[in-house]
């Protein structure tokens, strides 16, 4: 019994020692510190700022609901923030859908079609646009998509005068800019998922008589689900908060099936530039953050479900 007690004491000591292992503490502490410094603290300050006021052009600490009440009053009337939020959600979700639709087949081609010794080269080529400036890419798209831009000029040059595309200053143009921005990141996320699918499972499916299409539907696609959901969530969140593509390609209030309505992020920027009211801007930004968190939570839930279903 004494021996057993001593054994238990030794085990407890080892557990405590293990818990106090500096390497383990550092590996847990550093991410926590990073998260606290670059996420929790700024977010906390943003929340706090939303309750402050501007007096004589100075931001004054307060605990006022004035900003939120004013925003709520303008949600469906006057400024109609709700319309801008709806436009942003529509653009973000459709961008995420099309971004995955573009990137996923590309990744499948890199993983399953490209020669194994060329896969990394193709991956590097696919993510190469990431190393160029986002703003420059948007200005390039402006030149391409303009009424007298390269695409329409080329169509005229080949004799298709009647086939002129009018994309600039629409939310379709906004999506194009966003997809170009997001594609390299999504390709990497999806590549990690697809490249890690156990090929023996695909081979087993084929051995059991599955066609290529069936093997894709029953093995590859379910096993890619987590990656697809993560990529789509990421694309939706970035698109929801992006300002530049909506401003430069969408023309500030690009048209979509919801009409010619600005994105919520563009509206926040314009309001800040007009009034320089930081507390009110923070309150508006909080709405943006909450919706992003909702998208993230939905994505995480879907990814989890995907994991469970994929076993």
């Amino acid at each position: 019994m004494v021996v057993a007690a001593l054994g238990r004491a030794d085990a407890d000591t080892a557990e405590v020692r293990d818990r106090l292992n500096p390497l383990k503490l550092a590996s847990i502490g550093l991410p926590l510190l990073y998260s606290a410094a670059f996420f929790v603290a700024p977010l906390g300050f943003l929340i706090l700022l939303g309750f402050w006021r501007v007096e004589d052009y100075q931001v004054v600490p307060a605990l006022s609901l004035e900003n939120y009440l004013d925003i709520a009053a303008n949600m469906f009337a006057q400024s109609t923030y709700a319309l801008a939020i709806a436009q942003s959600l529509w653009v973000a979700l459709t961008t995420a859908f099309f971004a995955v639709l573009v990137c996923y087949p590309l990744v499948l081609a890199i993983v399953y079609v490209a020669p194994a010794n060329r896969q990394r080269l193709f991956l590097v080529l696919a993510v190469a646009p990431f190393w160029s400036s986002y703003v420059l890419r948007l200005f390039s798209w402006q030149i391409l998509l303009a009424k007298k831009g390269i695409i329409n000029s080329a169509l005229i040059w080949i004799g298709l005068d009647g086939l002129q595309v009018e994309l600039i200053y629409t939310q379709t143009a906004t999506r194009i800019g966003l997809i170009h921005y997001l594609a390299p990141i999504l390709i990497v996320v999806l590549y990690v998922t697809v490249a890690n699918i156990d090929r023996s499972l695909i081979q087993a499916a084929r051995d059991l008589g599955c066609t290529q299409g069936q093997a894709f539907r029953r093995v590859i696609l379910p096993m890619s689900r987590t990656g697809i959901v993560v990529a789509a969530s990421f694309a939706a969140i970035v698109s929801f908060g992006d300002v530049l593509s909506g401003a430069l390609l969408g023309g500030g209030a690009g048209t979509s099936i919801l009409g010619s309505v600005p994105l919520f992020s563009n509206m926040i920027m314009t309001e800040y530039a007009s009034s320089t009211n930081l507390p009110r801007t923070s309150a508006l930004a909080m709405i943006l953050v909450l919706l992003m968190v909702a998208i993230l939570a939905a994505g995480a839930a879907l990814a989890e479900r995907g994991k469970i279903e994929a076993g």
């Binding site: 052009y57 600490p61 801008a84 030149i143 303009a146 600039i168 200053y169 010619s260 530039a273 007009s274």
Partner: protein
């Protein structure tokens, strides 16, 4: 323009803790957070140790810091001028209000914001007799109402100005059409109007369109504001692009995605870049005119140098450079600037005789037709912003 269509400068929020805070937990937290922001913000402006003689600090719009503008002053006075640039009058007031006293020696302010600076006792009046260059100014800028101070003094000296008239592609819009704001409603301009994305100039131009030549388009009752809103909503289907950047509007015009913009000045940049098919004018109903002016900070630690700088900025040579910077074009109140321009520049800047108004230069006609920009008087600015937001989200 208070927010002229230029490149973005980083805007830094600065916060001063409320002095009336109680020694409560909330007060402490608020104060600590505010102090933290102040400390952080101070790093972003410039070192507070740069107080030595021969140095001065200016809070200004972009352009004043450019070498051709400031170099002569620095060499002549053997000094260094440091600049903190801002975008927008509200931002200027924030920077000033949240900086420790004595941070700035001079301020370039939009004329309508001078009254807000005087309300804060931020600037000292100037004696116009100390500025002999004012004799060369256009009469309206020699004695510019928004800058008048008590006792025959002035609050600031004008440095540059320009118009929010119509800039248009002459292939699609005729000179005759450009004479009236109502031409923007012609069916052919549907989806062909580009707007500078700021409520103030657009709503005040709309105010002039519904009340031609009103000298106080910002000082309007609610009923008049409702008409402005109606006019804007009618314009909405015509608008294809809202841009906060000059470049966005220029690109839209060059690519013919937009044919006209009520932003003025665009033709100077476009013609200068070889696109000869652009022109601009102030419609007969009038348009808004923005003005910048140099003021002396009341808490300046180097008033002597600051006064010299203000005097320097009133000169024709420096204004000829200031209004013709690479990224931005404007007009100079000192009419002698033409001495420093070639024929092409003089014509481009409209400092040439107006054939329709003998004895006047084109720029003088434009000044006569335009109204100095102001701020909403009878309503809070957020009421105007809400209307502008509604206009942007409306279908017209």
């Amino acid at each position: 323009m208070a927010r002229k269509d230029r490149s973005d400068a980083p805007s830094t929020p600065r916060v001063v803790a409320a002095t009336r805070q109680q020694a409560s937990r909330r007060g402490f937290l608020g104060g600590a957070a505010a102090t933290g922001v102040v400390a952080w913000s101070n790093l972003t402006i410039f070192s507070r140790t740069a107080d030595a003689a021969g140095k001065m600090r200016v809070l200004c719009w972009p352009g004043y810091e450019e070498k051709p503008v400031v170099e002569e002053f620095e060499q002549k006075n053997n000094c260094k001028v440091e600049f903190k640039t801002y975008i927008g009058g509200e931002q200027m007031l924030q920077f000033y209000a949240q900086s420790p006293k004595g941070t700035f020696d001079a301020i370039i302010s939009d004329a309508e914001y001078v009254q807000k600076l005087t309300a804060q006792k931020a600037i000292d009046p100037l004696d116009p007799k100390d500025y002999p260059n004012l004799a060369d100014y256009h009469p309206k800028y020699r004695d510019f109402a928004p800058l008048r101070a008590p006792g025959g003094k002035i609050w600031a000296v004008g440095t540059r100005f320009s118009f929010y008239g119509l800039s248009y592609n002459t292939k699609y819009m005729s000179e005759e059409e450009a004479k009236t704001w109502s031409s923007l409603f012609l069916p052919k301009y549907k989806g062909k109007v580009a707007l500078f994305d700021w409520y103030l100039p657009n709503m005040s131009n709309a105010s002039l369109a519904v009340s031609p030549n009103n000298q106080t388009p910002y000082d309007i009752p609610d009923a008049q504001l409702a008409k402005v809103k109606e006019w804007l909503f009618k314009l909405r289907p015509q608008v294809s692009v809202f841009s906060e950047q000059n470049q966005g509007l220029v690109n839209a015009l060059i690519n013919e995605d937009a044919w006209v913009t009520p932003t003025g000045d665009m033709e100077i940049t476009l013609i200068g870049a070889g696109h000869k098919n652009f022109a601009s004018t102030v419609p007969d109903e009038g348009s808004i005119r923005w003005t910048e002016a140099a003021a002396l900070c009341a808490d300046s630690r180097n008033k002597e140098l600051a006064l010299k700088w203000i005097e320097y900025m009133s000169g024709a040579r420096v204004q000829s450079e200031l209004v013709y910077t690479k990224g931005f074009k404007a007009r100079a109140p000192n009419m002698k600037v033409t001495k420093y321009w070639n024929e092409e520049q003089t014509k481009l800047m409209s400092y040439v005789p107006d054939p329709k108004n003998p004895g006047k230069m084109l720029v003088e006609t434009l000044i006569d037709k335009s109204v100095p920009r102001g701020l909403p008087v009878q309503q809070p600015d957020k009421a105007w912003i809400a209307i502008y937001n509604e206009f942007k989200t409306s279908k017209g």
